[in-house]
Subunit: 239 residues, 2 copies
DNA sequence: TGTACATCAGTGAACGCGCGTTCACTGATGTAC
DNA sequence: TGTACATCAGTGAACGCGCGTTCACTGATGTAC
């Protein structure tokens, strides 16, 4: 009766960005009886399975939807079992938050890789900057629940995780702006605020489009506004 | 025993931006017995008193802290009484949201008024644009609970209220940018996205400073980043 | 000016809900010998 | 190779909490006559 949920990759983000899923393969081995190893009393990878389920809850309903009991329910396990692997609900939220941030960064990297490089270094840096900015907003619109979770407030003792250095997204942005600066395309006076301004602009745009007064824009108008806003921001960096 | 809470202006935003507080004066008249009229069985202005209390909850804890029962408790009234004046909890939240948005706009206007006008129209438009942008972020930092409430998601049927036209903050911004454009200081190609870019930039900056990876910046560093980001955005508008 | 009465604006008890967490427990696993 | 046993990883019942909302009610108010 339990363990009848679909395999985790169907309903979870479950990408290999973190090293936690090493024994997923082993976990899914089908035994001679036809049941999977997850049917065992000892689940084998419950921490990951719970994080998968909780991430799916976040995707569907944002951070408020991350409910420990529900995640356990979806995995087919008692709520108590979660406490073997997480200190409590804040700890679970934190795990989901990391997944959500990683998913965002992945999307940004994928978008950069999707367009072809151009020979001129400055032009290429511009192309990449534009790609990660647009990917940022696109991810927010495509996965609002995960996006909100990636930036939800955390009360736990892991708040210091909210550091710039811990954001791969920031590192990506910073590298691209470095290249732009190296090509001489950034006004030196504004260089110190380039990352902040670029990130703020795309972050704010995403939220205004999601929950704010720009929520009524349709798909086509949206794209125009996103591209136009990106233009203004990029223009603000140049000399 | 009840009605022993302080007068509303002590603990509520309760500014005259909405026309609902017309009978506040009458409400506060002291009777010959020394008690105020609010001691009457018929409160006289319960809708406003509840909104005041709920706004105070929002200020202290953001939108999640707006709890109908608690607002009623603070006013000294049964929770049921609230249903004489609000359709339900979403309706109350909506009232608080309007208060929060109005408080934000007030702060922006006050900041514009705080600096002296300069003769040159373009320079003056720039001064005002900078003032409202910085006021926006300052308000978010000074009143995080209200700021979050002003932009929290609403599920009720009043979602259409989340229109650009309904935001006085947007009207303010739009007027200033019009003046900037009239002075020839806005690149015509970027004019259509000027409001969106400016608003997005300050909105995103506010949220990154509040809950995000910039939360660790101290007061002085903060101000530098705010001013620098504003510079980048303004530079992005110009030719 | 006084009175009957409809209406307005409150009351208090209760409901169902689902949450996070704790408790004492037991079945499964793997290691020492 | 088999067995004893410590440890690991689950179970299910229960707790307290506070919420939004509904119910049948009653006290206060103001208007018609």
């Amino acid at each position: 009766m339990k363990h009848d949920s679909p395999p985790p990759d169907v309903y979870a983000v479950n990408m290999p960005w973190d090293g936690n899923s090493v024994n997923i393969g082993q976990d899914e081995v089908v035994t001679p009886t036809g049941s999977t190893q997850r049917d065992r009393y000892h689940h084998g990878d419950l921490a990951n399975a719970l994080t998968d389920a909780a991430t799916d809850l976040a995707r569907r309903g944002g951070p408020e939807a991350v409910v420990l009991r529900e995640a356990a329910r979806q995995v087919g396990v008692s709520a108590t079992a979660a406490y073997r692997h997480f200190a409590g609900h804040p700890d679970l939220i934190h795990a989901v938050k990391e997944r959500a941030q990683a998913a965002l960064t992945d999307r940004m990297q994928a978008e950069v890789a999707a367009s072809a490089a151009v020979p001129d270094p400055g032009e290429d840096a511009l192309r990449r900057l534009r790609a990660i900015g647009i990917a940022y907003v696109r991810f927010a619109l495509a996965e609002p629940g995960l996006f909100r979770t990636a930036f939800c407030r955390a009360d736990g003792p892991q708040v210091q995780q909210m550091e710039l250095a811990n954001f791969r997204a920031y590192q990506l942005l910073s590298e691209v702006i470095d290249q732009l600066a190296a090509a001489g395309l950034v006004d030196p006076a504004r260089r110190p605020y380039a990352e902040t301004a670029a990130w703020s602009g795309m972050h704010g745009l995403a939220l205004l489009l999601l929950d704010g007064p720009l929520a009524r824009l349709t798909g086509a108008d949206r794209d125009v506004v996103i591209a136009g806003t990106a233009d203004v921001l990029i223009a603000g960096l140049g000399r």
